[in-house]
Subunit: 319 residues, 2 copies
Amino acid sequence: MTHLTPVEGNSRMIRMDADEIQELEAYANTISAAVEEELDTLLPNVDGNEEDRLFEAMRYSVFAGGKRVRPLLIMATNEIMGGNKKRAMRVAAAMECLHTYSLIHDDLPCMDDDDLRRGKPTCHIQFDEATAVLAGDALLTMTFEILSDVDTHPDPNVRMRLVALFAEAAGARGMVGGQMMDMLAEQHGKKDFDQGALARLQRKKTGALFSASCEAALILNGGTRDEFHRFTSYAKNLGLAFQMVDDVLDEVGDEAKLGKRTKKDAGRGKATFARLLGVDGASRQAEFLVQQAVDYLRPFHNKARVLDLLARFVVCRTH
Amino acid sequence: MTHLTPVEGNSRMIRMDADEIQELEAYANTISAAVEEELDTLLPNVDGNEEDRLFEAMRYSVFAGGKRVRPLLIMATNEIMGGNKKRAMRVAAAMECLHTYSLIHDDLPCMDDDDLRRGKPTCHIQFDEATAVLAGDALLTMTFEILSDVDTHPDPNVRMRLVALFAEAAGARGMVGGQMMDMLAEQHGKKDFDQGALARLQRKKTGALFSASCEAALILNGGTRDEFHRFTSYAKNLGLAFQMVDDVLDEVGDEAKLGKRTKKDAGRGKATFARLLGVDGASRQAEFLVQQAVDYLRPFHNKARVLDLLARFVVCRTH
């Protein structure tokens, strides 16, 4: 489980050399290309009828060039388990539809009101608000359409467990619940919000889908209880560290490199880890979480290399 | 299939007497009470933590007193098939979550911008826009959580088919696609919109969930190909007639009785059946569709009585 006591001392206990970064990037690029090919098949590029605009908006946001972290978690975990690539790739595509829906709705004027994401206009800026709401709704719905299809896995019990997993992770007790806490936190200002509350919020908002990504790969391959424990612990720590570094980059990062506005959260008086722990404190805390995450996967030795690289990259990245 | 050629002559070929209306109302009230009890169990009334507001908003909209037409379709079809009531009731609750989500998002300022529904403030008026977006998202997600749970049906193949059915009916090629067409129709004005286009729009927007309601009950009970044909034809005709009468009531209905603003669609120059066919034309067309709907269920004789009453009520209702 995650501990949030700040770590004293050396501010860079985790390092990556250029070769390691290159190795991770090569893997990530392969996964990105493959999941985008899958999404391209699943999201038809139709022309000439009234629904065009809806599919156009769905495709616009899905292909806006995300980091595809969740697909990477699914595919890397699936590889450790020796699983079928084609099936895992469909699950990865479904996860990316789910993640994209959450970004589209989060960016809406009534939510985070962001006009830029990954260096491109957000969905409601490129299209309009109504189209953005509907494109998000359609992508959320499509997630379950993909998972329930026999092509995802021949065993209906496995598909059923995937649907249940995604719904629970995304719903009122998971991601949407986290987003609601986030909205309330903003309204209250940071005065009512301590580190524990912020961690709970982020475990739902980011952690739920990170964890569900690993769990999905385990469900596809009949993972053991111990494997579920190790991978979900890895994923939750990773998600929290990822959010902490995001907060740090929002404070000190380069807008051009990040492809989005910085200092937005802080500017609105929103509680962030960087504000609560300081930039150094949040960075060190993220390192500690990543160290723990990496430890959970030790029993898998070199098979878990990609997930080890990914975890370390989370705290070494500059954008 | 539906034909839209206006019917000449007598404007009231379908009638209902007071006893028949009372019989339908008694059945509808029983279903409403039962589905609300089911929803009350599924949507916990939690207190004292940050997610409260989200569940509060979900409950507010779910219990805002709808007609529960889709649950009635599910339960009545299930009864004709001699099915298990408890299972069908869970599917009915899931359908009502799906329907409620669509109403919450449809009412948003960037969509239909409605401040009143069923005589009560809409979700974004009672709470706020962000909460309404998230409550809708959570209800959509919860639909699939309910369906994937083993309590809905012990056979995972059946649950899987229900998830696939709901996702397809609700998604970009179904309800959300219809809503998108509706938005575009409003932007274009009615000049590009003929009766055929409007019928296509409504088959997606209303018809998809009406049809899926009957189909869900058939999936639960292993319906035959012929049964699927008859019930989906019934439901699609019913949905279209329902929308035509809604358009008529929007023109000539009583705001207090309807519990919502009237003449809104027309006021925005939106294409409606009442505008395209005239109030009399749309009423007669609705009667014709209902007559067809009733005919599809003739082989079930008196077992289909409730669905027969419901279809006739659609054209006889005044609110």
